[in-house]
């Protein structure tokens, strides 16, 4: 059974005392009827705060690094604008790639307001960055007909240089990396710019032909969201809505163009008359990985207002919807998909955020991979179920102890002290109301909805349970988080975090973890496989354990982490070997001469298995 959720009132702005259950120190003191007690508690809290700061392993370097440009939501100008503003507080994304091949990861950060500029932060190698978006030609994506929702680096022409895909409500953009610091808009000739209210994208080689294919998830159905012709474009249900934008699959033709193969690959259903129906849920995120270690990456689709989907890759260029068998039918609000082997059992697990608040206790999913294409939700047992109104979340080993930790962003709209909850529930409980009609939804105005929520940094306690260390490390901000990207920006072996916030400044957290834990990173290059080796699995043997990591093609909501594979090793200073299973299917073994280093691995240069 579910446990009681958060205490306190999450709708209470920071700085104000919680209204109900969290007993503040002064109130506790009043109960005790002892003013001296209150003073003692204050002193104790102050001492505790100092200790907390001293133990923090993350340093907020947003300003000093020069990456503090604020994100702003799009403000719509149509008859439904006052209603839409509450449901389109999106578009803050952070995606990482070493776009210029200088050995240091850079980061692309989006804005969404009309005329708002994107930022391409070039890494200066000293934990400062320079915004080169204008010069590179990737700053402009927000106009009257398009608003940025997300972004993705992927090497669509397989030249080893990451190209940039900008996901938009409107027409998506594909920028080819020309290799001289400039990008060229090739959206139209690539054939991927059809109108969609897209919100997420990933790229992986589903058919193992050596080229990265593109999967795009859309939130609203493909109506002109800026000038809707009908008011019926909102979700028809809170739990089983199927009038969203669904998922589109673009096969990479290898000549700079793509073909929409959504129906061919089977991402949808056929009715009794044989007619194909694309997925039409309110997609919020997509995540790929090889669940059953058969060499072909499978697909998880997280949907708002309805059922998440799990597609098994059949290995013949098609997928089968095995949702009911794999994860069951849910009615939650799926926001994020990230894959990682949190218990080091050699199988990739999945973390999906949903909504958990005083008024809606869905709980997240931590899908433990059972190894037979079924998953069991262990979020409650592991302490990862309740993270508020969840958004982007990422597996990563921040303390290099060899176990994947999780950072979770959250918070929907942090505004005035009044809550929007009663308004929306008044609508919900109105008999026979048509939810799809935007006019029936109450405007949010200056009210808050699951705002001012503290982020979570779950430390993995040897695959059994997670302990929230966000406050200790100073990464428990209350801004409305959306995307998180993980990278070792200074190549010191400690993974840093870039957090994109909606309608706010981002955070760049530098990892200053002081332990002597060892680590090793691998930069993989495909030859037969796609050149950036997306989908490659790396199994590392060290200290009597085997650990699994893989290269993702943009998993997790509004965030893309480094393309490098990072292993924390704890006190183990020697790696016995690594085995790489390349996306094309070959397995090779490599030796690792030294730890605490970044090692380049090229397909075909190892010992074949």
């Amino acid at each position: 059974m579910r446990k009681a959720g958060q205490t306190g009132n999450p709708l209470t702005p920071a700085g104000l005392p919680a209204l109900r259950t969290r007993v503040s120190a002064p109130r506790a003191a009043r109960r005790a009827g002892n003013l001296a007690g209150a003073c003692l508690i204050c002193v104790a809290l102050a001492v505790a705060a100092e200790q907390t700061i001293a133990q923090s392993w993350f340093q907020d370097v947003t300003n000093s690094a020069g990456v503090n440009a604020r994100h702003s939501n799009r403000v719509f100008d149509n008859p439904y604008a006052k209603i839409m503003e509450g449901y389109t507080a999106l578009g803050a994304s952070a995606t990482v790639a070493d776009y210029d091949g200088d050995g240091y990861d850079d980061v692309f950060v989006t804005d969404s307001k009309l005329g708002g500029k994107n930022h391409l932060y070039h890494n200066n190698h000293n934990f400062t960055f320079t915004d080169v978006a204008e010069a590179a030609g990737v700053a402009d994506s927000n106009d009257a007909s398009d608003a940025v929702a997300d972004s993705l680096w992927f090497d669509f022409n397989n030249d080893g240089k990451p190209d940039l895909f900008v996901v938009r409500f409107g027409h998506n953009q594909l920028f080819q990396n020309m290799g001289n610091g400039k990008f060229k808009d090739v959206s139209k000739q690539a054939g991927i710019d059809s109108y969609k209210n897209a919100i997420t994208a990933i790229a992986f080689d589903y058919d193992r032909d050596g080229k990265l294919d593109l999967f795009v998830g859309a939130y609203f159905q493909p109506i002109n969201i800026f000038k809707p012709e009908s008011p019926r474009f909102f979700p028809e249900s809170f739990e089983t809505a199927n009038n969203g934008g669904g998922v589109s699959v673009y096969h990479n033709n290898g000549d700079g163009t793509f073909t929409d193969v959504t129906e061919k690959v089977g991402l949808g259903t056929r009715d009794e008359n044989g007619k194909f129906h694309r997925l039409s849920g309110w997609t919020l995120d997509l995540g790929h990985a090889d669940a059953d270690n058969d060499g072909f990456d499978d697909l998880y689709v997280a949907c708002d207002f309805g059922t998440d989907h799990f597609f098994h890759n059949n290995g013949d260029g098609t997928f089968s919807d095995i949702t009911e068998k794999a994860i069951g039918i849910d009615t939650k609000k799926g926001m994020n998909v990230d894959w990682g082997d949190f218990d080091n059992d050699g199988l990739l697990d999945i973390y999906v955020t949903n909504i958990t608040d005083d008024y809606m206790r869905e709980g997240n999913f931590l899908w433990h991979n059972n190894g037979n294409l079924t998953f069991s939700d262990v979020s409650r047992e592991t302490g990862t179920a309740e993270t508020g109104w969840g958004w982007g979340a990422k597996f990563f080993d921040y303390d290099n102890d060899g176990w994947l930790d999780i950072y979770v962003t959250n918070g929907w709209v942090s505004a005035g002290k009044d809550s929007y909850v009663p308004d929306v529930f008044k609508m919900v409980t109105t008999p026979n109301i048509d939810f799809a009609d935007a006019r029936n939804w109450p405007p949010m105005g200056d009210k808050s909805l699951s705002g001012y929520e503290k982020k979570k940094l779950f430390h993995n306690e040897k695959g059994q349970i997670f302990k929230d260390e966000a406050r200790r490390h100073g990464v428990d901000s209350i801004r409305d988080g959306r995307g998180v990207a993980i990278a070792d920006f200074d190549n010191d072996g400690r993974l840093d975090m870039f957090v994109a916030n909606a309608n706010g400044e981002p955070y760049l957290y530098r990892n200053t973890e002081p332990t002597s834990n060892h680590w090793v990173q691998f930069a993989l290059e495909g030859t037969k496989s796609n050149k950036t080796a997306v989908g490659a699995q790396v199994r590392l043997k060290a200290g009597g354990m085997t650990r699994l990591q893989f290269i993702s093609g943009g998993n997790s909501f509004a965030g893309q982490s480094s393309n490098r594979v990072h292993f924390g090793l704890g006190e183990v200073a020697k790696v016995d070997q690594i085995e790489v299973r390349w996306p094309a299917g070959e397995r090779e073994v490599f030796s690792v001469p030294a730890v605490d280093k970044i090692q380049k691995i090229v397909e075909g240069s190892g010992k074949r298995k």
Binding site: M1, A4, T21, F238, Y359, R361, S419, F425, V428
Partner: protein
């Protein structure tokens, strides 16, 4: 499983049920109750529906009908809280029943309970809709007849709502009325529920002293009550967490009303 193995038995029972006089709802109920004992819910449900239709204000018959529906769907879906479609059929039955018998207070009460029974099987938003519908039906029951059980039920239901909806105060008002009713009655085992819930309501409305006072009064009358012992043994945040756990809307609420007539 059992009704499949004994497929002839339910058919016979239905034939027998058909032969029972419509003027004798108690006999029909007894047959339905017997089918329930043997976990033959497929037979029990139509019999109990027949009994309820013949005597719509009968609290016992309708309560047992809901229990049959609940047990049937839980047995068929052991890994979940039942199928929402099964509960929807039950809700539709009570909807028709109350339309046909708009003066039957207990029919409305059980209609409300039918919504409550569905809540754990529903999604988070549907839970709110069901809870709100339940309150609507409980209110109709109280308007017709403000009984102890109706006031206790609605008052207790209000306590499950998140604080943001401000309904705990309404719950306290109902529970205080139920408390006044029970003070004038001979002591019944189920009266302990009002002591517990009224205290929970006081706690949720930031009146901890009154909460402890009513729990202590209840403990004096019902010294074996574990719920009261637990509450009185806890303090501060521990007590708060305990009450929040008890009032978690995702947990199934026991809506079996047997205690009402077993103790009479």
């Amino acid at each position: 499983m059992s009704y499949r193995r004994n497929s002839l038995i339910p058919a016979l029972l239905i034939l027998l049920a058909g032969s029972v006089s419509a003027d004798d709802p108690n006999a029909v109920y007894e047959k339905g109750a017997q089918a329930m004992v043997s976990k033959d819910y497929a037979s029990a449900i139509p019999l109990l529906q027949q009994a309820v239709q013949a005597d719509p204000d009968n609290l016992r018959d309708a309560s047992e009908l809901r229990q049959a529906v609940l047990r049937q769907t839980l047995a068929a879906h052991p890994k979940s809280e039942g199928a929402t479609a099964d509960f929807d059929k039950d809700i539709a039955f009570f909807d028709q029943l109350t339309k046909a018998h708009p003066a039957s207070a207990n029919a409305y009460l059980n209609f409300g309970f039918a919504y409550v029974d569905k809540i754990p099987a529903a999604g988070s938003i549907t839970q709110v809709i069901q809870a709100n519908n339940a309150l609507t039906e409980f209110t109709k029951s109280i308007e017709l007849k403000p009984t102890w059980i109706a006031l206790y039920t609605r008052g207790n239901s209000y306590l499950y709502w998140p604080k943001i909806f401000g309904r705990a105060g309404l719950g306290v008002a109902d529970l205080e009325k139920a408390y006044e009713i029970q003070k004038k009655e001979p002591k019944k085992s189920y009266h302990v529920r009002v002591y517990i819930s009224l205290g929970d309501g006081y706690w949720k409305t930031e009146k901890p002293d009154k909460a402890i006072e009513i729990w202590k009064e209840g403990a004096a009358a019902f010294p074996d009550s574990q719920g009261l012992k637990d509450r009185l043994a806890k303090k501060g945040d521990d007590l708060d967490k305990y009450i929040n756990d008890v009032l978690d809307p995702n947990k199934r609420v026991d809506t079996d009303l047997k205690e009402l007539w077993r103790t009479q």
